[in-house]
């Protein structure tokens, strides 16, 4: 079955240059939005489309926009999140490398809808190629009159500035991103106030992910009802799923939300090499609770369905683990990551992430005790929901759910005094 590509050009094509993008209908939606639509109509349309944020939390985009103050004070900003650093996530990179004008057009329409003066695209520092590709596209958009002073002769001024991060997962958290953009350590802010009221330089700011913004042009072009028909209830449209780990064809697949996870793994990604059995699947970046094979074979990739099996869609980054792989090792790698990336502000996170990692290392090395499993449970409860941002929650879920769903394997590490799967599993 082919993908359903709204965000990305057809397989094998690259529409990075403005001529190609325009030849395929690009910027027609922006012309319509800027010339024929009132700002509040655009916000209403996006609200009605059911578009939800594609950065991980799934917050309704139109609703986020409607939180901006109505007092008419300027300037107001967009902070576009291109930090893409949730492990197993590599979807925004596809847009930035293959269809960057889609993002620019989305930002322009969002700017019109929300009376925005400038957008800052915060890109992870490691994405050097995508940065250069988007920079070239932005220059083309200025030259073509889609950006700058008096856009398309409508009297609207709008600038897009690209801003490089420098390697810190926490800067993908929306207020960590704002701090980093302002030239500081990316330590998240307490809320309230929310960014819509007090964001960049304490000005009203909307923070949206690259993919989220890139959906806006085709919603404006085709309407809210059209978008809602793609996908399922409460999960409209397509998304770019990333599949990695033990599959024949790892990569990205743009498909409607609600696509069965089984289809994604076994049809699109070609299944597991050499006919091995499925063991576990992380469905939405390593922050999201892992699923057992039984859960994975039955669940669909949308917000509602994943919540019924105690997980979340997250970024749609799917990691597949086959029967050879050790679940303690997976939890260890995830806990190592969060220990490295905790910003250190909150005690529960700073201490908890280190504690979890040390426990996982000890279990894996065969020096763990059965009481360590209770300690992991306790530490994750102490972390979850008690900190300024969601990194601690993610750290608690990411490794804690491996314990809850594969407890026997953790117990086996204690009784065997080491890893029973050491001969077959990946190494950490």
């Amino acid at each position: 079955m082919p993908e359903l590509r709204l965000l990305l050009p057809p397989v094998g094509q690259n529409w990075s240059r403005i001529a190609d993008y325009r030849a395929h209908g690009g910027y027609a939606a922006a012309e319509k939005a800027l010339r024929d639509m009132k700002p509040e109509e655009i916000v209403e349309l996006v609200k009605n489309s059911g578009l939800r944020g594609r950065g991980g939390a799934g917050f309704p985009t139109g609703m986020k926009w409607s939180f901006l103050p109505k007092d008419g004070r300027r300037p107001r900003y967009i902070a576009c999140n291109a930090d893409e650093s949730e492990p197993a996530t590599f979807k925004d990179r596809q847009i930035l490398e293959l269809n960057p004008h889609k993002l620019i057009e989305g930002l322009l329409i969002a700017a019109r809808a929300n009376t925005i003066d400038a957008a800052y695209v915060y890109m992870r520092g490691e994405y050097r190629g995508p940065f250069e590709n988007l920079s070239a596209a932005v220059a083309e958009a200025y030259a073509a009159g889609y950006l700058g002073k008096n856009v398309l002769g409508t009297g609207m001024d709008f600038d897009i500035h690209l801003h490089r991060g420098a390697g810190a997962y926490i800067c993908g958290e929306e207020t960590g991103l704002l701090e980093s953009l302002e030239g500081r350590k990316g330590q998240p802010r307490k809320r309230p106030p929310f960014p819509a009221v007090s964001g960049l330089w304490r000005r009203p700011t909307i923070v949206n992910n690259v993919e989220t913004m890139s959906h806006v042009p085709h919603i404006v072009a085709n309407g809210a009802e059209w978008f809602k028909k793609i996908g399922v209830e409460k999960s409209s449209g397509t998304t770019i799923f990333g599949v990695s780990g033990d599959v024949v064809r790892p990569g990205t697949y743009e498909l409607p939300l609600g696509t069965p996870l089984r289809e994604l793994i076994f049809e699109y990604a070609g299944g597991i090499p050499e006919g091995r059995a499925l063991k576990a699947v992380v469905p939405g970046g390593v922050s999201m609770p892992v699923l057992t094979a039984e859960q994975a074979m039955q669940v669909n990739m949308d917000h509602q369905a994943l919540s019924t099996v105690g997980s979340m869609l997250g970024t749609g980054g799917v990691v597949v683990l086959d029967e050879r792989q050790c679940m303690v090792r997976a939890a260890l790698v995830i806990s190592r990551f969060f220990r490295h990336e905790s910003c250190g502000q909150c005690t529960q996170c700073r201490e908890g992430t280190g504690w979890l990692h040390r426990l996982m290392v000890s279990l894996e090395a065969g020096t763990g005790a059965s009481s360590d499993l209770e300690t992991i449970d306790e530490v994750t409860r102490f972390m979850d929901g008690h900190t300024i941002c969601a990194l601690a929650d993610a750290a608690a879920w990411g490794s804690g759910w491996f314990l809850r769903r594969f407890r026997q394997e953790f117990e086996a590490h204690v009784t065997h005094r080491g890893c029973p799967l050491a001969g077959t599993s990946f190494e950490v």
Partner: protein, 168 residues
């Protein structure tokens, strides 16, 4: 090292994008690092602080917070292997070991001739082509296996010696 007039000019050219000069700090550090062998010489810190009108400690805080900034010298080719979950599943540890064998250094170390330094890094967003290596904050080498490392190191050595140094 002192900030060259060219570098100062490049940094100042970023100011109009932002309401505050401080916002240019990360960009300025990237610029300096690119021009000074992939790391940040200490003397540049007070100069940057003056230029951006911020306290010196704020510059140090940012340098130490972000993993792409190096306060100590790195090799002309700084090699970082992703060891997050998707890369580990596809054999990242064996790739790290191959680099250790070929270069005779451990992660965190630099070869005696200053040509290579080795490190591990968190997810680079290249999970469909795991395992992945980042060379000098600049480019990715994807889909590696341990058998590729001898040839890759030879190629990087060749490139670095012909180009003077690999841009960071």
């Amino acid at each position: 090292m002192a900030l060259s007039p060219e570098l100062t000019q490049r940094i100042c050219a970023e100011f109009p994008k932002y309401p505050e000069k401080r916002a240019v700090l990360l960009t300025a550090l990237h610029f300096v690092q690119e021009e000074s062998g992939g790391w940040l010489p200490k003397d540049v810190v007070p100069e940057l602080a003056r230029l951006l009108e911020i306290p010196v400690i704020d510059v140090w805080e940012v340098i130490s917070f972000y993993s792409m900034f190096h306060a100590e010298p790195v090799g002309r080719c700084h090699l970082q292997v992703c060891t997050n979950l998707p890369c580990c599943i596809r054999g990242a540890r064996a790739v790290v070991r191959a680099f250790e064998r070929v270069l005779d250094i451990r992660p965190g170390e630099r070869t005696q001739d200053g040509m290579f330094s080795l490190g591990e890094v968190e997810c680079l967003g290249s999970c469909g082509t795991a395992p992945v290596l980042q060379v000098n904050n600049r480019r990715y080498e994807e889909g590696l296996s341990p058998g590729d490392i001898d040839g890759l190191v030879a190629r990087l050595r060749q490139e670095a010696s012909t180009s003077g140094r690999e841009k960071s």
